[in-house]
Amino acid sequence: MSGWTEIKGRAVALAQSNIDTDQLIPARFMSAPRTDGYGDFLLHDVRQDDANHILNRYTNVDVLVTRRNFGSGSSREAAVYALVDFGIKAVLAPSFGDIFRSNAVNNGLLPAQLPEADIEDLIAAIGDDDVGATVDLSTSTVRIAGQELSFDLDPVWRKKLVNGWDDIDLTSQHNDGIQAFRAARFAAHPWALPTS
């Protein structure tokens, strides 16, 4: 996966709270292989029920601005695949589901946390249109709707996004330590090995 430091693109607002991963990708699409592309599955049923949905009117979207608890619920990483394959590279919200945030960073999608008041101002400023937006990971700032805002981002996650790093590569250098840990753990706590 390739990393990124800055994106300059278009942003829209989705003025809803609690957009869960079941809405982001309904379960029935999750048996598809990733190589088919997941972009069409993004908010599939919601978009099909509402021809005027913001993501039907604008399909060239890089940044999504939305309300609290985005990506809550099911751990399905397919929700992130749908966003990424649609073309979205950053989501700005007051809060995210914990598992979703990790999944996002593992796939090059920035979950940028901003104060609720900033998000409400942005949603009001963007309305039903799309606007230009620039996201800069090196400074943790976003320029959007005439404002420059700072977001919270875990420094490790910044590194992963910028470098497109994969944890499996990072962990291989700890292989000896892991093997030693396993041996010590089961020697001290033999009951922790499954019997039968």
Partner: protein, 465 residues
């Protein structure tokens, strides 16, 4: 480290292989549970030419796509099940497949098989992995990339969450269950109220709970946004585990009991947050909206978005629109089209017993499906005569699996239909496109079934339990 420790801190420290300067820990994984949905992770592993690092600690089960009724199985469902079987065989992983007497929902069979033990770190690519915390295990759900990482290394990188102690004082009333307690606290703190936190449930109401009730409570931690839920093990926990298939035996058992006796929060240990709930305040609770936080006592009324502020009001308006409800309606006046009993939240034997005690000698006014949480639960329910109670009431008795909780196997609620459900998520479209879900305890589902509308179970159980 010195000073008094929380249970969470003890578990975390005992699994830390290493810690980076930035504070992220590499944690050892004692049990990794996989299911059909793990196909993305196996594909990732294959694309790197890697194999599973610890097949002896990895267990597979068919649950998310498991067919629960007879008849032809759709080809994409068959493919998902076959793919898991192929991956498990290729990697030497013990698989509980459809015909295995140990098959069931992953979070039901973990404890049932003795795979879930106090002091272990347990991961699964499923958010309800928090369930296993009921045994004093560090258990949390992960995404596909993390599943691939665990398969490849038997470890996971995690940032340490904050801690929250939720003390439940008092006692739950008759017919008020762990499900009601969970919906109650989530309605107070919000669906993201425990975000970034590991919750330890404590207090007299927790000690009084059965293991199965504790599993229900820990299961729903994720619906309040928590990373995981935990309960310190006690004699009841040990009694539950003893003699189970994969549980420690002989001298290992004695050693385990010694280790497990230290698994409690020390007197004076500090939590980042303390929350106190009075169990006596909890009534049979139902959801009215499209988030688990949209929950109220059955004696209440549908809220009025007009008197709620800003984003909250907008969420409520959109929820009521989707749910087809009017503000101010009495909750027990909401008529239903069908019921579902099952899931990793409420598909265990005690859940079925309680639902059956409501249904016995009564007829359901709406159709419904009962899917036991595992093949073992099914067998036991049949031996106890519970299955007969369900079928005599007019409900369908099916095989075990995730079934209508997630709808992946084709068990779905029709668009616009309203379902009283013992499951964990009332999200838009969760039980099927356009489906309207009301979450509640299995006893409350049974009450709704015999009433044809949402109903308070308490009068229906008078003189019965």
């Amino acid at each position: 480290m010195s000073g008094p420790q929380t249970l969470f801190s003890k578990l975390w420290t005992s699994h830390e292989v290493t810690r980076r300067d930035d504070g992220t820990s590499l944690l050892w994984v004692d049990r990794h549970l996989v299911h059909e949905g793990s196909h993305h992770a196996f594909a990732k592993l294959q694309s790197r030419g890697m194999s599973v690092a610890a097949p002896d600690l990895t267990f597979g089960v068919v649950d998310h796509y498991a067919p629960t009724r007879s008849g032809e199985v759709a080809s994409d469902i068959r493919r998902m099940i076959d793919t898991l079987g192929r991956n498990a065989r290729a990697q030497g992983i013990r698989l509980f497949d459809l015909r295995d007497p140990g098959q069931g929902i992953v979070h039901v069979i973990g404890p049932e098989q003795g795979l879930t033990l106090p002091g272990l770190l347990i991961n699964c690519g499923d958010s309800h992995t928090s369930t296993h915390g009921a045994f004093g295990a560090l258990a949390f759900g992960v995404g596909a990339t993390e599943v691939a990482h665990i398969l490849a290394t038997q470890t996971i990188w995690q940032r340490r969450p904050n801690t929250m102690r939720m003390t439940i004082n008092g006692a739950l009333g008759p017919a008020v269950t762990a499900k009601d307690l969970a919906l109650h606290w989530i309605s107070i703190l919000g669906a993201d109220g425990a975000r970034g936190h590991a919750i330890e449930y404590a207090g007299p109401a927790i000690r009084a709970m059965s293991m199965e009730a504790r599993l229900t409570l820990c299961n729903l931690s994720i619906e309040g946004g928590a990373r995981l839920g935990l309960i310190a093990p006690d004699q009841q926990t040990f009694d539950y585990i003893k003699g189970r298939n994969f549980a420690p035996k002989g001298t290992d058992w004695e050693r385990a009991l010694q280790d497990w006796s230290a698994l409690a929060t020390d007197e004076g240990a500090a939590f980042d947050q303390e929350v106190t709930i009075d169990a006596n305040d909890v009534a049979p609770t139902v959801t009215w909206g499209t988030s688990p936080e949209d929950a109220l006592p059955i004696t209440g009324r549908v809220p009025d978005p007009a008197i709620m502020s800003g984003a909250k009001g907008q969420h409520a308006r959109a929820s009521l629109d989707y749910m087809g409800l009017e503000p101010g309606m009495a909750l027990d006046a909401i008529s239903i089209d069908q019921v579902f009993i099952g899931s990793c939240t409420n598909g265990r034997i005690e859940d079925l017993r309680m639902a059956a005690s409501v249904l016995k000698g009564r007829k359901a006014k709406v159709p419904g499906l009962v899917s036991p949480g595992s093949a073992a639960v099914k067998k036991q329910a049949e031996a106890e005569g519970l299955a007969q109670v369900f079928t005599q009431a007019g409900l369908e008795w099916a095989q075990s699996g995730c079934s209508m909780c997630v709808g992946m196997n084709g068990d779905r609620v029709k668009s616009g239909d309203r379902c009283a459900s013992s499951t964990n998520r009332n999200f838009k479209g969760r039980q099927g496109r356009g489906a309207r879900t009301h979450l509640m305890s299995p006893a409350m589902v049974a009450a709704a079934a015999v009433s044809g509308h949402l109903a308070d179970v308490r009068p229906l159980l008078e003189g019965r339990t």
